[in-house]
Symmetry: none
Subunit: 172 residues, 4 copies
Amino acid sequence: MTDKKENILKAALELFANEGYNAVSTNAIAKKAGVSEGLIFRHFENKKALLDSIMQMAEQKINIVFAPILFETDPLNVIHHSISLPFQIEESEYDFWRLQFKLKWQSEYYNVDKMKPVIDKFIWAFTMLGYQNPALEATFLEQIIETISIGILRNGKESQLNYQQFLINKYQ
Amino acid sequence: MTDKKENILKAALELFANEGYNAVSTNAIAKKAGVSEGLIFRHFENKKALLDSIMQMAEQKINIVFAPILFETDPLNVIHHSISLPFQIEESEYDFWRLQFKLKWQSEYYNVDKMKPVIDKFIWAFTMLGYQNPALEATFLEQIIETISIGILRNGKESQLNYQQFLINKYQ
Amino acid sequence: MTDKKENILKAALELFANEGYNAVSTNAIAKKAGVSEGLIFRHFENKKALLDSIMQMAEQKINIVFAPILFETDPLNVIHHSISLPFQIEESEYDFWRLQFKLKWQSEYYNVDKMKPVIDKFIWAFTMLGYQNPALEATFLEQIIETISIGILRNGKESQLNYQQFLINKYQ
Amino acid sequence: MTDKKENILKAALELFANEGYNAVSTNAIAKKAGVSEGLIFRHFENKKALLDSIMQMAEQKINIVFAPILFETDPLNVIHHSISLPFQIEESEYDFWRLQFKLKWQSEYYNVDKMKPVIDKFIWAFTMLGYQNPALEATFLEQIIETISIGILRNGKESQLNYQQFLINKYQ
DNA sequence: TATGAATGAGTATTCATTCAT
DNA sequence: GATGAATGAATACTCATTCAT
């Protein structure tokens, strides 16, 4: 991947994440990336394809982030580790995740199955730990994690910090 | 408020909620509302003011929805009632709430203080019930409610139904 | 039809006829018509539709021009009148016809059947006059008329003038 | 001439002939020719020069086609041979001739004098044969040939076949 | 000779907004 | 209050052309 193509992807990510896909012009992306507007369309078929390209990279990143949980063998660790996950997001990646959550509202990008393996792991963990309703507990936990993530992305890590221990205490 | 003005508001709400503010043209709103494009600008200074007008109606509606909780005197009822709240959303109002959640990502429309009275009530309830960390429990509950709401708006009420009892059982 | 819409049609006709559809920008049309570029697209769905609109007017004009021939009852007059037809084109309508002939090369606009009634009339005329092969004579005559027209549009009426009598003499 | 340069010329000819000069992008030419877009501009100064190059080849080809007529010594043969000419066009050269006729509408490429020697030969032939108005007969014949050519290029050879004998019979 | 990344001016089209009626 | 014609700036995208390699 050439330097300039990467510049375009970075600029687009930042702008899409903060202003929204439709609010960002290809002109703005080009300026931020320091390239000509035409170049965007030599690297990506159209504006939409640029977003798709970013989202594809996203899917990979999500897989990497959740991989350790899938390999975890201790049920309680699965849960604790999952709760800690949102707090490990580096600030440099906030844009990236912000875009994910924004686009969850666009049905096209909302894919329920993406989280299936993680939820299955949660069910397994709650079953192991003898919870009464593992399936519901699992989706509940997933939603909690999503909610914390949103909180962090909106108000910063500090705002949610003592929250982490609070949640871990809930699952003992 | 004239019929036509209301048509405009309804059309704009539906379109903004489903496609996003920037993706909707005033032309599209006019067509859906069955009025001329010019009329939109007689009733609202500009497109942005139309959105603001919708959001203002929103704030009122939110106040109405949460009012009963603020007047509730039994702590446990506060919590149980709050959990039930998302399930009482009428399908005809989904667009309305969808727009709220979408716009939460636009800093301009995200107002932390809007929920302050509710959270204070939660803190009071958890204190009454002798929970160890009422403040954190309160924001936790608020986030749970938000999460359920999102689930309902995205996947329908049925998808979250057995969830309601599950949560009420958690708070006894 | 508003003044400005007519201006657009006139400007487009002149430009399309002289420079070709693809060589003319909507910007150029707007400037020549003395309107904003946007107005073109309020009156015509797109550039292509503008051309179509012109071509539709053309079909009507062609019908009007050939109508007298269809009503002619004297076989020889049918032929003589037809030969004279191209010489009756007013100079103000040259653009119009130039465009017709240019677009004959675009299959989409080339419609064989358009001339069917005229050719049938020719066949009738040549049959009446006892020609050996009326069908071939008919298409031959049609092609001659087309060829004269092209000559006039390219080099002016004068260049083909003594040609008219020459051709009429051929059919006695 | 290298292979690739020839590929470019062939691709450009085919595309120009069928879609028109302005409707064809250098990108499209490059793709069809299987070369990089840049190479076009190594071989030709610009897009226009590429067309000119094709048209220059055209002039040569036209000279070759009409040469036998110029050397013909029998007046009647001049005419008969000329009428047969369009029917000898090979299908592989249709694009080539289509482009010629299309561009006749672009004044820049329409050169009256190109056909001068042929018309002079026609005048000579008709004079020899004792026709009353050799000059007019000559341009008439030229236009007939052009008309047949157009018919063949548009509707195929078969469509005009019985036409050939019909015309030859006219000139005895 | 040949490539392919890169550009900047240009293209058709859309958009929010204005205004005369 | 309401329309619909009209605008001008902006939009996504294309194009012929350049240039380093």
